[in-house]
Amino acid sequence: MKKYSIDFLSSLYTTMYKIRNFEEQGIKLYRQGHIRGYFHPYWGEEAIATGVCSAMNPDDYITSTHRGHGHCLAWGADLNRMFAELLGKKAGYCKGLGGSMHIADYSKGNLGANGIVGSGTPIAVGAALGASIRGEKKVVATFVSDGGSNIGSFLEGLNLAAAWKLPVIFVIENNQYAVSTPIEDSTGETQLYKRGIGFGVESVRIDGNDVLQVYETAKAFVDRCRKGEGPFLIEAVTFRKSGHHVNDPGLYLPKEKVEYYEKHDPLKIGAEYLRNAGLSDEQLAELQDKVMKEIKVAVDFAVKGEEMSKEEFLNFVEGY
């Protein structure tokens, strides 16, 4: 593996640590009644969003999923506005009208989380098509789950990108469970990268918990997409460290798997890279402390934030 600077490795680790603790704080806020509705933690999958997004340019595009907090944060979302949205506040990315499953930042190329599994994929293909009509060399990454890889929207989107040779990277986050149904019960082909091969798309299967492996795979594909060689597909094997959502204890997750992935945790792997590169434990703690302070400030900002008034809301929906 190539040698990376401590700064680069720190930035990857920081993003993963931020996602992990964003979810942790979010769940606390949920339990305290500050957050309502659905909350799907990205726990255990942090390396995928982090590795892929860090391989892209700021003016590229992503589409996310219902489990989307990690993608938004890896894409550079502001913690204050993220928490504010989860709390339904006016300062949130969607002014509190979208919530967890609809966070997006169109001005920055984040085309949004999506409450409908698989539906972000054709949208990603459309962003790539539009850019290609305009003659821009943008790359689009579309995240989907193993569950989403069985739905027509994903498969149609994959075929369209292949037919039109568009610069799209399909990222299947194979966390091995579609809500509570294990992948073995969901499909006759559990090696999901083969979905891409079936459509003529160069596809690989990688360890989705190893942030450098994700980054290097994504970087090579992003560069090749920019040269017009896309699309590509990455199956990133990972594990959801929790139930489907905050109120699902995930009792169906087998003990052996939980234990294996507890050791094979993306943050542990990321920290190991940093230690190997020479970062001390104190420096790592400093880095973590800085993130925790930012999160604390953001939670405070969100809790104190204003909600959209009824008048503002009625004004906003005028003309519907």
């Binding site: 509190g96 609809h102 169109y106 085309l111 409908i116 098509l129 539009g130």
Partner: protein
């Protein structure tokens, strides 16, 4: 130019030619406008609406798609979200049922869910209606599905003039527009100005003035309503024909003004009678102009059954001119 202009140079062209002109003009006007659909490039579309576009605008902007409605409609949504103005063609409205997630859960919701930061300036063009023995899966009128969904505009032009002006406005609209054509109207001719014009979404048109009753009809029912009005006139009944042209936004004012004048209302709808747009328009009239009504609002709709293949039976399931004449007489107590 707007509709009030008189004495403009016109020529008679077909509905499909008017749509073709609208597409060409808007594609010339804005390089971000592009069209996609099944067999629309070389073939020019099943109803010839997109003929010659490929030659002028090339493959980048005139895109033949695989038979993958949900996928390519979603692709249109994604392109629209990122600054393009796609015109997506779905061959039959019946196939639009394959794309409802992208239209209803996605396109119609983005502006709202994002707190107003996202826009989806996309037009979904398709055609519906009974005609020519296409049977149960190619003959439906499904405007009610889209009418029901907040966040969508629904346009249903009944002649070439309206088709051109409304399609141009639909393409310029910053929100998703469902543009519903009718398979039996494509060859119909009307006078269309030489000069460029647009018709704002949300303006009904009185297609024939009258004082005895208001017949409200849209899309394929408008020519039939006009023919019925002609027959009624010969029998001493002066019917006014109002074409909403866009169902969302609905020009309630023009409808209500007509109702206040004539005090009698017949709504003619090709779609099945149950749960249709006509019922909603009727409820609006009864809520807002009840005191003006001299008779109950009558709705003449399609039968609540799928469309048969047999041509003689096909004719039975939707309102015909004679049915409209008969229903109009009932409304004015001359049946």
């Amino acid at each position: 130019m707007n509709e009030s202009n008189t004495a403009v140079a016109t020529r008679e062209i077909m509905y499909r030619e008017a749509l073709n002109e609208a597409l060409k003009e808007e594609m010339r006007r804005n390089p971000n406008v592009f069209v996609m659909g099944e067999g629309i490039a070389e073939r020019g579309g099943s109803y010839k609406v997109t003929v010659d576009l490929l030659e002028e605008f090339g493959h980048k902007r005139v895109i033949d798609t695989p038979i993958s409605e949900n996928g390519f409609t979603g692709t249109g949504v994604g392109a629209a979200l990122t600054g393009m103005r796609p015109v997506v063609e779905i061959l039959f409205i019946d196939f639009s049922l394959l794309v409802l997630d992208q239209i209803i859960n996605q396109a119609a919701k983005f502006k709202f869910m994002s707190g107003g930061t996202a826009r989806v300036p996309m037009v979904l063009r398709t055609q519906g209606g009974v005609g020519n023995g296409l049977a149960a899966q190619h003959s439906q009128s499904l405007e009610m599905l889209f009418y029901h969904i907040p966040g969508l505009r629904v346009v249903m032009p009944s002649d070439a003039y309206d088709a051109k002006g409304l399609l141009k406005s639909a393409i310029r609209c910053d929100d998703p527009v469902i543009f519903l054509e009718h398979k039996l109207l494509y060859m119909n001719k009307t006078d269309v100005p030489e000069e460029e014009y647009t018709i704002p979404l949300g303006q009904a048109k009185v297609k024939k003035e009258g004082k005895d009753l208001t017949i409200i009809a849209w899309s394929g029912m408008v020519p039939k309503a006009l023919e019925a009005a002609h027959i009624l006139a010969s029998q001493g009944i002066d019917a006014e024909v109002v074409d909403p042209r866009t169902l969302v936004p609905l020009d309630k004012e023009t409808i209500l003004n007509s109702v206040r004048k004539t005090e009698h209302v017949l709504i003619v709808q090709e779609a099945v009678r149950r749960g249709g747009v006509a019922s909603d328009i009727s409820s609006i009239i009864q809520e807002q102009a009840f005191d003006y009504l001299d008779a109950p609002v009558k709705i003449l709709g399609g039968l609540n059954i799928p469309c048969p293949f047999n041509l003689n039976l096909e004719e039975l399931i939707i309102p015909q001119v004679d049915d409209i004449v008969k229903a109009a007489k009932e409304v004015v107590y001359k049946g």
